[in-house]
């Protein structure tokens, strides 16, 4: 069942126009937050809603906010719109199609944590999203929703739009903060976490676009409304990006707890005459599930219980025509390319896995390479500053184990180049 919460009105009206957004109740929750609820009220509603981060880690949003020390220092909220997880295309849609909802969410979140100057970090490749968002922000500023003395109160929230310049790793929150400070986008050693020492060394919260965009809806409909949907520990809605071997790829907003089979059907089912043999349920970093898992509930905890994750909510379906050696290479090459190079296991391991897969695919591979893929992927995991290197093993190991025959047949049939 598709729901319309964040996606309400998309494709029907021009939500980039502030008047149309306001006519549908837009910015009313921002007004209510400032004039009625107070920051503590917003914090409380978010906590009771059970909202968990929609960027990948699924961390409870209100708990993340609660880590900020009450030390009187300036605080910053940064909205992470560096969407680049393979298979994910929900944040770009939200930025391009309903930017005011994102702005309202950022404003409410900023107010809740006490950020007087917030930032949105938009991926460098999103030229159109950046233009649309900037125009929407200018409208919101002109209407008095952004800046000083909001709704006649003493509340100030400035919002700066910052664009990346091509680096997947900047989606990692400490790399994002370095990039926002004009540095190389290299992740920082943690602790200290951004909540304690973040942007400019001050307490900082980094939240995903989709996470923040749900805030106006949680305030409008009440936290119980959100908390009552889906599994108790993993409640609410989720915009799921479905791609790969399906008839109608796209974004589908569903209650968490929808089954993978329902999501496959929403996307039009498998291509003609094909059957689904594997599912990557949570972006490039997640381990594959297989056809026997199609009945699983799509939520944070069920995915974790099956050795994978919901991640950013990007599902890729693979049918029985898939060459999993090529699929593995596409993702391994991606992580090798995007490694920032700080940690040796990730920088070296990703590269050598790519070299090994190329060799298997193009000739020169040997049988022992297949075991080596698993060994190297495992050895480079868990010993890096950030999760990028660790992201290689889940998908690679799951498809090598399941489709080992495909890998072996390349090695056995291709001639070794002279």
């Amino acid at each position: 069942m598709v729901v319309k919460v964040l996606t309400e009105g998309i494709g029907e009206v021009d939500l980039c126009d502030i008047e149309i957004y306001r006519a549908r109740g837009g910015y009313e929750q921002w007004r209510r937050a400032v004039t009625a609820l107070g920051a503590a009220g917003v914090m409380d509603a978010t906590n009771r809603s059970g909202l968990r981060g929609r960027g990948g880690a699924g961390f409870p949003t209100a708990r993340k906010w609660s880590f900020l020390p009450a030390n009187g220092r300036p605080r910053y909220l940064v909205c992470n719109s560096d969407e680049a997880e393979p298979g994910t295309f929900k944040d770009r849609m939200l930025l391009e199609r309903t930017p005011h909802q994102v702005i309202e969410g950022i404003l409410i979140g900023s107010y809740a944590i006490g950020s007087r100057h917030s930032f949105i970090y938009i991926r460098g490749e999103f030229a159109e999203g950046y233009r649309i968002f900037k125009a929407a922000l200018a409208q919101a500023r002109a209407a008095g929703f952004v800046g000083e003395r909001i709704f006649g109160s003493d509340v100030t929230v400035e919002l700066t739009v910052h664009r990346g310049a091509g680096a997947y790793i900047c989606g990692e929150e400490t790399a994002l903060l370095n990039s926002l400070e004009g540095r190389r986008g290299e992740p920082r050693l943690k602790p200290p976490f951004p909540a304690v020492k973040g942007l400019y060394g001050e307490p900082t919260v980094v939240n995903n676009v989709e996470t923040l965009a749900y805030l106006p809806h949680i305030l409008r409909n009440g936290p119980e409304w959100f908390a009552s949907v889906g599994p108790q520990r993993s409640p609410g809605f989720k915009v799921v990006s479905v791609s790969g071997h399906v008839k109608r790829p796209g974004n589908f907003e569903v209650p968490l707890g929808t089954t993978l089979r329902e999501l496959l059907e929403l996307a039009g089912g498998p291509l003609e005459g094909r059957k689904i043999v594997a599912i990557q349920p949570g972006g490039g970093s997640s381990a594959c599930l297989f056809e026997e898992h199609l009945g699983l509930s799509y939520d944070f905890d069920t995915m974790a219980a099956h050795g994978t994750m919901l991640g950013s909510g990007a599902i890729v379906f693979f049918d029985d025509s898939t060459d999993f050696v090529k699929a593995a290479l596409a993702l391994v090459r991606f992580y090798a390319h995007e490694s920032c190079g700080q940690c040796t296991p990730c920088r070296e391991g990703g590269h050598w896995l790519e070299v090994t897969l190329e060799r298997i695919l193009h000739g020169g591979g040997v049988e022992s390479d297949i075991d080596m893929l698993l060994a190297v992927a495992h050895q480079l995991t868990g010993i890096n500053l950030c999760p990028l290197g660790d992201s290689i093993e889940p998908f690679l190991a799951s498809v090598v184990k399941r489709f080992e025959g495909q890998f072996r047949s390349y090695v056995r049939t291709l001639p070794v180049p002279a």
């Binding site: 393979p86 298979g87 460098g124 004009g182």
Partner: protein, 267 residues
């Protein structure tokens, strides 16, 4: 090598600076700390020149108050910053998972054949640069690409041919990039290959990628002597700090900015 080489420059830098300056000043004022404006200012220069010229990076260093080496290091981290001139159309088809599943490989092969270049190369006429990129967040319309960062969806070989023809005839809907200098074969700056470990995986030849033939030192020297786009003009401490300021010398406001962040004699 003494002064910044023109490197085949077709537009003088003074006019570039005049065009970018108001935007740069606005950006410097927008952030709590000046250095945060570095990426946006670099982009502002690249939007005008088509690439990040040594002069532009030098001025950026003065503006944000960082050494030139830091600015170049930062610029080098990001794939959308080009430290060498590129073509008028940057063609970037996606090679990641969802596009691969929906036929990216034959599309990329078609591009390479039609353009006569490989990944990360520019055509001899300076019109096209070609790069196979990672997930562009348009997997619902795979295979996809960006042209000068504008999306093209649902690629087919015919669509590619139509796009290339329109670009060659100057009637493509996306504006061509500016080009303040003549591009070379690739915009990649040669980096030391020694970052990866040697000898693993039965790499036989020391000259093979990852082999023992580490030429990093030799490459640094080559770059100092032969690079047509030298960033380091004269390797003394004073010049490193003040090159950008020198370029700004006729501009009182920006010169003041540069002095403000790098007082003379600071160590």
């Amino acid at each position: 090598m003494s002064e910044p080489s023109t490197g085949g420059r077709t537009r003088d830098f003074a006019s570039v600076l005049a065009e970018v300056k108001p935007e740069a000043e606005r950006l410097l004022a927008e952030y709590p700390q000046r250095r945060s404006a570095l990426l946006p200012i670099l982009r502002a220069f690249q939007n005008v020149e088509g690439w990040l010229s040594p002069e532009a990076m030098s001025v950026c260093a003065a503006m944000v108050g960082e050494p030139l080496s830091v600015v170049e290091s930062t610029a080098s981290f990001y794939t959308l910053f080009y430290r060498r001139p590129i073509g008028k159309y940057m063609l970037q088809p996606c090679r990641n998972l969802s596009c691969t599943l929906r036929g990216a490989e034959p599309i990329m092969a078609h591009f390479r054949e039609r353009l006569g270049v490989e990944h990360l190369q520019t055509t001899d006429d300076g019109l096209f640069s070609y790069e196979e990129v990672e997930c562009l967040a348009a997997c619902d319309r795979a295979p996809c690409m960006q042209v000068n960062l504008e999306f093209v969806f649902d690629l087919t070989a015919d669509k590619v041919d139509a796009i290339l023809a329109a670009m060659r005839e100057g009637r493509y809907e996306v504006a061509a990039l500016p080009q303040s200098a003549v591009p070379a074969k690739s915009w990649l700056v040669t980096q030391a290959p020694a970052k990866r470990s040697p000898g693993a995986l039965r790499v036989a030849s020391p000259d093979a990628p990852g082999g023992m033939g580490d030429r990093s030192g030799a490459q640094m020297v080559e770059r100092l002597v032969e690079d047509p786009y030298p960033v380091v003009v004269r390797p003394t401490r004073e010049r490193l700090v003040t090159d950008g300021a020198a370029l700004l010398a006729n501009d009182r406001d920006l010169a003041a900015v540069a002095r403000d962040v790098r007082p003379d004699g600071a160590s």
